[in-house]
Symmetry: C2
Amino acid sequence: MKTPKPAAIDRATLDELLGFRLRRVQIRLARDFSAATTDHVLRSGEYTALAVIASHPGVSQNEICKATGLDKSAAVAVIDGLHERKWITRRRSDQDRRRYVLTISAAGRRALADLVGRTRHIEEPVLSALSTRERAQLFALLDKLVERVLADQA
Amino acid sequence: MKTPKPAAIDRATLDELLGFRLRRVQIRLARDFSAATTDHVLRSGEYTALAVIASHPGVSQNEICKATGLDKSAAVAVIDGLHERKWITRRRSDQDRRRYVLTISAAGRRALADLVGRTRHIEEPVLSALSTRERAQLFALLDKLVERVLADQA
DNA sequence: TATTGTTATACTCTATAACTATA
DNA sequence: TATAGTTATAGAGTATAACAATA
């Protein structure tokens, strides 16, 4: 039994759906990433959370959950992990003592820069299917979707 | 502490990365989907596998794994689930008795059509951030990435 | 009363390795 | 020897509910 061309995943029914496409590409990227970062051993969400803290000094855990889609109970372990590595600092907010004020450390910035560099390298083989112009288009379109997602739950 | 605009997820470091965008949108779609299909209770991968079987009558489990990114051990439970629901039929291949020949049933086609209809409905609020033309562009660009992913592991 | 963060817990997903039957 | 599918299992991810502290 020969494979009937794997690229043609049902043009009839799935053509108008977004989720399958996102899922397929993301599975590939996630696997390549975890294979290439066996030294760091990042938990799911730690990378994104670190990036959010880097760009939003003083965010709370709750805000990170909204920005990344992380569950608030899962966020605890994620923030703990970043803190143990000394990639972030946490203290209670003066205005609202329920909240944490999270900021990235110098070591955290170095780790993030390292991760971003590696990620770019990992994504390159996939993104090389697109021209520079197409990449920019793709990113702009995806950004519109991300903004919509964030706006809907703000 | 005010949130400094959640849409702006670090323009400095993450701007050139694909994975975050895919992940964020996919988390949203996956949650909305599972919330809207509590009656069907689909296991992860069953939907995609069913769609692949629909468009590739006679595929083997192995081929489904390649097309969907599913692990071969995980595929067993997925195919079992589809079979128990009588959405697919399975028999051993005559040419190679190690392989299964999987085909979708009439009930499977109805279930798939129902799922696709629901999914379209679920994706609409997110996709409405784009014009018709932009959606077509996005899908075409993502398809190029999917084809690259499939080609790399063929 | 509502919200932030925490813990316990249960369920699911994913990956590995060892196995069988066929090739 | 290699491949298709299976099983057992361990580890990670995800979600829910109950809770403490604070608002």
